[in-house]
Symmetry: C2
Subunit: 311 residues, 2 copies
């Protein structure tokens, strides 16, 4: 149908937002941002061959490629304790790709926008000899000065994790829901108790290392408390890697890992009503105590800084 | 040096901005946006093989790839009559690329940030089998409700263009200065006289078609008034395509095309003091008069909707 026609179609169907005063079709989108709300700004990407494949085992549909690109950026917005307002998207198609591919990717992108009520504010479509890629840039909003960061965790904080971990790359990494609703619920229940947060993209181990590096602290993970996914248990039961290794190293779980004051953590767990679990998996230690994982008997081992290098 | 080490280096050297309260290294950057300023939001990309090549005739240096990616996004911000505040960048490296390549791209990106005083707020680094790509997302600021759009031109408006046109893809497309300073000067001299604006990326012809489609009008270009670049004249003198064809169709000039009220246009041209020229090249017609180009004798020909399909 030609690239310009495709772009016209994209513009016509793009979801909006009340703060977006000028949407797609101009050199820039224009937003009118309320004075009392902070702005979270993020860019993320999915690249063919690294974050998805289009054929063979585990192949993604084009719709899933669009969904994943948008949802993984939402995951970062959720980890900042914010809510998405507007996204822009840069898609690169392999030369000769059919129009249907671009349209399906677009449907996946827009489905995520609609699911969480934010705008597709603009985009750029390119065709090059390289593989398919989708880059999403997103603006999220939250209360002034209250964004959750990786820094701020202190010894004694409880480590909470949403959902289940491990073996995400079976299927979940293409279809997951970003933890926006859980992030919002957590902020409501514990407005001042969240000391630090990160979304689990490289695996629990490496992402905890990131959080501890930024917060200048150590941490303890209780292996038997980790909410392993049924898929991770199935892999282990079939003689594959242990569920613990999968949870620590696999990555792309897109769950939230939070360091929470003990009082707020107790309150959160007590009041938690959500189909997605919120589980205590450990606590923050001092930096000198290091990063360790304890088994059911309490025996500690160092937690290695390894994970999926999907960059 | 390893991807995580590279990322650390990138974070340490990233230019800041007073409105950026949390910079790189977190799940999101955080901005504190003043209530009285509108926000322009844009994403743009450069893809190896389409927007640059790394070897052979016309090869770009990695520094130029970074500069071009940042500067072309700045060009869109300039076309909205805004000034950049913060950018995020997604880089995809071809597997096996040396660290030096990434570092040089980064230097080119940061040079543009520093040149125009805006922040590199965050980024994502990926390695995939495809080619090198750099995607830039940018936030710009301008007075509330005053962003320049492609729509708003009315018959009688004067068409002004910055700089010179044609043969940009010889070299200029890798080294150009985005017309931010000129955009700012134009707004200052004619705060309410700019009815529409677009940056010339596809060529004067196609971009004028874009502007006229959005503004529901026609336009006349005076061929002999077009400020042809010396390179375009040299190509023509050597027996290549005419300077007019190059200016109309080559694309990637990254100059501004503005539809301006006759009074403001006269004032702008009278008061203009800038090393970059501001030239009257035509005027806006009614839609029924269509889009035409006139030669020195006044003879009109239709202006075809053709240009560089670099998407």
């Amino acid at each position: 149908m030609g690239e310009l026609k495709l772009i016209e179609k994209f513009r016509a169907g793009a979801p909006g937002h009340p703060w977006l005063t000028v949407g797609p079709g101009q050199d820039c989108a224009i937003l009118n941002w309320p004075a009392d709300r902070d702005q979270a700004f993020k860019i993320d990407q999915v690249q063919e061959g690294t974050h998805f494949v289009l054929s063979g085992p585990g192949a993604a549909t084009p719709y899933q490629v669009g969904w994943k690109a948008m949802a993984k950026t939402c995951s970062d917005i959720a980890a900042a304790g914010c809510w998405p307002v507007a996204a822009t998207v840069a898609v690169n198609l392999r030369a000769g790709s059919p129009d249907a591919l671009a349209l399906e990717i677009y449907d996946g992108l827009c489905a995520c926008c609609r699911r969480y009520g934010f705008a597709l504010a603009g985009g750029d479509l390119s065709v090059s000899p390289g593989g398919l890629s989708v880059v999403v840039s997103m603006l999220g909003e939250g209360p002034r000065g209250k964004a959750w960061l990786r820094r701020g965790a202190v010894p004694g904080d409880v480590l909470l994790v949403t959902g289940t971990l491990g073996a995400s790359r079976g299927r979940k990494h293409l279809t997951f829901e970003p933890r926006l609703e859980q992030s919002c619920r957590i902020r409501t229940l514990a407005p001042d108790g969240i000391h630090a947060c990160i979304d689990i993209t490289d695996g629990l181990s490496r992402d905890l290392h990131h959080l501890c590096a930024e917060s200048n602290c150590g941490a303890l993970i209780n292996a038997e408390k980790i909410p392993y996914s049924p898929e991770a248990r199935a892999v282990a039961d079939a003689g594959g890697r242990s569920a613990l290794t999968q949870a620590l190293e696999d990555g792309e779980d897109f769950e939230l890992l939070l360091a929470v004051s003990p009082e707020s953590a107790a309150e959160l767990v007590r009041q938690w009503q959500d189909p997605v679990a919120l589980t205590e998996v450990g606590r923050i230690l001092s930096k000198t105590e290091g990063l360790v994982v304890a088994d059911a008997t309490g025996r500690r081992q160092p937690l290695p800084d390894v994970g999926w290098e999907h960059r």
